[in-house]
């Protein structure tokens, strides 16, 4: 592989891995405090893309205004899903919550098919993200550079919230012991709502970046990135924010470079993620950066 191709693939992997990581953060935060795998997370991301799409084409907003509004609306959607679907089964056996999550996922996908229609829609790209840059003979979209930068910023923000604020401290306590956290005077439902809001907002941001990359959207677009982000979260050690990002990057690099080294694998690209999932569950279920939590 010559250096130009290597650099090209590196940029591709970095931006793909960042997107997996961004979506994985929402999975990992919700799992961290509720021990719930939010199977609807990829669909929440899809909803964010449609909010942005309609903001631009139906309400003629500028791209940035529509992105901001879409992210806020997706955060609200996340809170509503928690409130309406998950909170009622919070004290039920964990399997009930899991089944509820799968139900929410189907609901969002099918409401999407009915309301938005199944035909893919072209997603707009602001001009500066669509320009082609050239570096050492490598040509790439501006978007591919902006994606990891935005990701880094969002990651820093989330790490700040989780490790440096009062709300974040409460999140870490809930993940260890919900009842004792209540004894500290914490309104646990409120912290859970904030967690859903942050996870969903970040998923919307990731989804919009994803949509601009392809650049089209459809109501089932959340399924594959959702599954892969789940693998990334498990790979990094589910419950751990930094781990989710590391898992996402690792998965992005594995996919891009395995295919680059052996182009025959191109058809199996999606299978790589699931092979990794099986391996990690067999050999290191707590993930690469996961800490063993007491039950």
């Amino acid at each position: 592989m010559d250096v130009t191709i290597l650099l090209q693939q590196f940029i591709n992997a970095l931006s793909l891995g960042s997107l997996y990581g961004l979506i994985a953060i929402g999975y990992t935060m919700v799992y961290g405090i509720l021990r719930l795998i939010n199977f609807a997370h990829g669909d929440i991301m899809m909803m964010g893309c449609f909010f942005a799409f309609y903001g631009i084409f139906m309400f003629s907003l500028s791209w940035w205004a529509s992105f901001v509004i879409a992210i806020v609306l997706t955060a609200v959607l996340g809170i509503m899903i928690d409130r309406g679907a998950y909170r009622p089964v919070r004290n039920a056996p964990r399997i009930s919550a899991l089944i509820t999550a799968i139900g929410v996922s189907f609901l969002l996908e099918n409401v999407g098919l009915v309301v938005f229609g199944g035909r893919p829609k072209g997603f707009p790209r602001p001009e500066f993200l669509g320009t082609i840059h050239e570096l050492w003979g490598v040509r790439f979209l501006g978007l591919l550079i902006w994606t990891p930068l935005v990701t880094l910023l969002l990651l820093a923000f989330i790490l700040f919230v989780v490790y440096r604020t009062r709300v974040g401290r409460a999140m870490r306590c809930i993940s260890f012991d919900m009842e004792t956290t209540r004894l500290m005077g914490v309104d646990v439902n409120r912290i859970v709502a904030i967690t859903f809001a942050i996870g969903s907002a970040v998923a919307a941001a990731g989804g919009i970046l994803w949509a601009m990359k392809y650049p089209q959207i459809n109501p089932l677009m959340g399924i594959i990135p959702g599954l892969k982000a789940f693998v990334a979260a498990v790979l990094g050690g589910i419950g751990n924010v930094t781990g989710a990002m590391a898992g996402g990057l690792l998965l992005g690099f594995a996919e891009i470079f395995l295919v680059a080294i052996n182009p025959d694998l191109a058809g199996y690209r999606d299978a790589i993620a699931f092979a990794i999932l099986i391996l990690i569950l067999l050999f290191r279920p707590s993930g690469l950066m996961g800490e063993k939590l007491p039950e």
Binding site: R172, C173, F176, L183, M184
Partner: protein
Amino acid sequence: MLEINDLNVHYGGIHALKGVTLSVPEGKIITLVGANGAGKSTLLRTICGLVTATGGSIRFEGRELIGLKTFEIIKLGIAMAPEGRKIFVNLSVYENLLMGAYNRKGETEQKRDIEWVYTIFPRLRERTAQKGGTLSGGEQQMLAVGRALMSRPRLLMLDEPSLGLAPLLIREVFRIIGQIHGEGTTILLIEQNAMAALHIADYGYVLETGKIVLEGTGKALLEDERVREAYLG
């Protein structure tokens, strides 16, 4: 300050508290002693709203607590150091203390209170940056009490603070309970260690399988034949 009247609690078919009536006047140390499984923890957990009562009333400064959420009850000025300490093992000692002050505003005040807790428990100061999980049993108990103090509660409830500690440490824990009381905090103390608890308490209750079977001043209970036989050996 705290008035409990005819309180009943069921766990499914188990009748864990059978009409408990108990009162904690302001400024006193009240103790509730009883054997393992008598329902002592259930009483504290019901006061905090972690367990739902099936009948009766719990009034704190005239206000009914039954039906309130735990965080609302804590905000009224009640704190509990739960059975088994329940330290946040993944947080530092300092962060554990900050969690105790969750609903209090003002960073300078919190820092000052952490200093105050550190003067009561100098050992915690040495461990300030350590994870809660790395502390010894005695240190964890001190942290649990210190964390409860951080909310500046008017009523402090302690669930078996001497459990699992060496005799020397038990003496230390009871000395500190006396000191906290001396600084003006009302205390509801739950103990299996009836001797030590009745010694420092103003008034005591004996709980047996969900019922109060005896009550009286600490001194009177210590001299009571039945108490001596059952709990003091």
